[in-house]
């Protein structure tokens, strides 16, 4: 196992700029295993996605965004439970476990998800999620290899942090964090508009995105641009014409 982790890290370290190491790890993982996409996400201790560090294709990206938007799904559960969440047949099992997430599966282009938590002792760093466009289990040896990729991803994140130094973020992780910035800013604004905590404000933002079938990112941009406010009316928000 350790030898395999070292092998993975060595092979992605061959040439190329450091910032793309997480991307290369995900790309190699797609080649090595019987899967079609990979996503590497940072997670906070309470299972809030801190952003995608790397993603290999559109369906994988869609799945990562959907889970962040809904606050539910295999990646969220893997991080919270600190255990791999293996879903070889999403179409038949996802709806029961994650109603909203499951409802999106038929059109998502993904039929199986294998989510592995990245953790060091008590600390949860993120999730490595493997996606496939057809249903089916990972074989025993593939599962072992997937765990080796998860360990390699953990080592890589720690190495990036080591290079960045305390209280800083590595440039390779900045993109992931920047991506989510507007959502967190909007969360802050909504918390003032509604007089609630940021946690509840995020739930309201999520609910609104779900109810109106709009991406959370778009709503956040509208809130930050002051074209939209959240309120306690029946509809839950007001659109402002000519906002900044």
């Amino acid at each position: 196992m350790l030898a395999r982790v070292a092998e993975i890290l060595n092979s992605i370290a061959d040439g190329g700029p450091q910032a793309s190491l997480p991307v290369r790890l995900c790309q190699e993982c797609v080649v090595a295993l019987s899967i079609t996409g990979v996503g590497l996400t940072l997670m906070t201790a309470d299972g809030l996605s801190g952003g995608m560090v790397a993603v290999t294709d559109r369906p994988a990206q869609g799945m990562e965004e959907l889970q962040f938007a809904l606050g539910q799904g295999p990646c969220v559960d893997a991080s919270r439970s600190r255990r791999p969440v293996l879903q070889p047949d999403l179409l038949s099992t996802a709806v029961a476990r994650w109603p909203e997430f499951g409802a999106a599966i038929p059109t998502a282009g993904v039929r199986a998800i294998f989510a592995f938590p990245l953790q060091v002792g008590a600390f949860r760093l993120g999730v490595l999620a493997l996606y496939r466009d057809t249903p089916g289990r990972l074989g025993d040896s593939e599962l072992t290899d997937a765990l080796a990729y998860a360990d390699a991803a953990t080592t890589l994140l720690l190495d990036l942090q080591d290079q960045a130094g305390a209280n800083r973020e590595h440039p390779a992780l900045t993109g992931a964090l920047d991506n989510r910035a507007v959502v967190h800013q909007a969360t802050g604004m909504i918390s003032v508009q509604l007089g609630v905590s940021p946690t509840e404000a995020l739930l309201r933002l999520r609910a609104h995105a779900y109810a109106t079938d709009r991406p959370m990112h778009d709503i956040s941009v509208a809130v930050v641009g002051r074209r939209m406010r959240f309120d306690h009316s029946e509809y839950g928000s007001t659109t402002i014409k000519g906002g900044r």
Partner: protein
């Protein structure tokens, strides 16, 4: 199995057993020191280890005399343990004359404590030397090759455990830092939103206001952000440009 063989076997198991939850570095080093005395025809043993800043610290000893002698080595900057850590090789002086030449002050003190010889075995894994095991003996005959080899084997097993423990501690620290960086980034963005909404300032100016407040007060940006979010800090919305 003879009693000695049994003790050797038990000691290896003891020293290798570092993955248990209650693993304690000092306890491991004390085990190494006291078993070395029992197994290696030594009268006392002490262990010195390098700390994070590259200095050496006396970490464990089987007897007070051993601890004092090691402290003496550090104070006077001479002795077998220091040579051993510097070179990464075992230090086994041939006789008293050789010891007097190499470490005159240390040898005088050694004899005052009633010992005749001192040898040191490195705690080393590949190129990294993290400390040394000092063996003090009342017998003036040189230590046997068999005892030296066993001593090195005990030191090697203990070193693997120690390096593993250091690696785990280091990766936990990094994990904590990464998690903290993620959390503080989220907190900062939320605080920008809260401040922008309260003051009507654009997002970038809200951030400027937070930052200049933190700088003026000599406080951390993360603390300011927390207080803005929970409402305990209200910043004026005057345009700061």
């Amino acid at each position: 199995m003879t009693t000695r063989e049994q003790l050797v076997a038990e000691t290896f198991v003891e020293l290798a057993d570092t993955l248990v939850a209650e693993f304690d570095v000092i306890e491991l080093l004390h085990t190494l020191a006291s078993r070395s005395v029992e197994l290696l025809d030594a009268s006392a043993a002490g262990i010195m280890m390098s700390d994070q800043r590259g200095g050496l610290t006396v970490m464990a000893s089987s007897a007070e005399e051993a601890r004092l002698l090691e402290l003496y080595e550090l104070q006077n900057n001479e002795g077998p343990c220091l040579d051993c850590v510097r070179s990464g090789e075992p230090v086994v002086p041939a006789d008293l004359a050789a010891m007097r030449t190499a470490w005159p002050e240390f040898t005088r003190r050694l004899q005052e404590f009633g010992f005749s010889t001192a040898q040191a075995i490195p705690l080393r894994l590949r190129s990294e030397t993290i400390g040394a095991l000092n063996l003090f003996r009342t017998s003036s005959t040189p230590m046997t090759q068999a005892d030296l080899a066993l001593g090195q084997a005990l030191a090697d097993v203990a070193t693997i455990g120690l390096i593993q423990e250091r690696a785990i501690a280091a990766s936990q620290l990094l994990a904590e830092q990464l998690q903290a960086a993620l959390n503080s980034r989220i907190l900062l963005e939320q605080a920008k939103g809260v401040l922008a909404e309260r003051t009507g300032l654009p997002m970038d100016q809200a951030f400027q206001l937070m930052r200049s407040h933190a700088r003026n007060q000599g406080r951390r940006l993360g603390d300011i952000a927390t207080e803005i979010i929970d409402g305990s800090l209200v910043l004026a919305g005057a345009k700061t440009g």
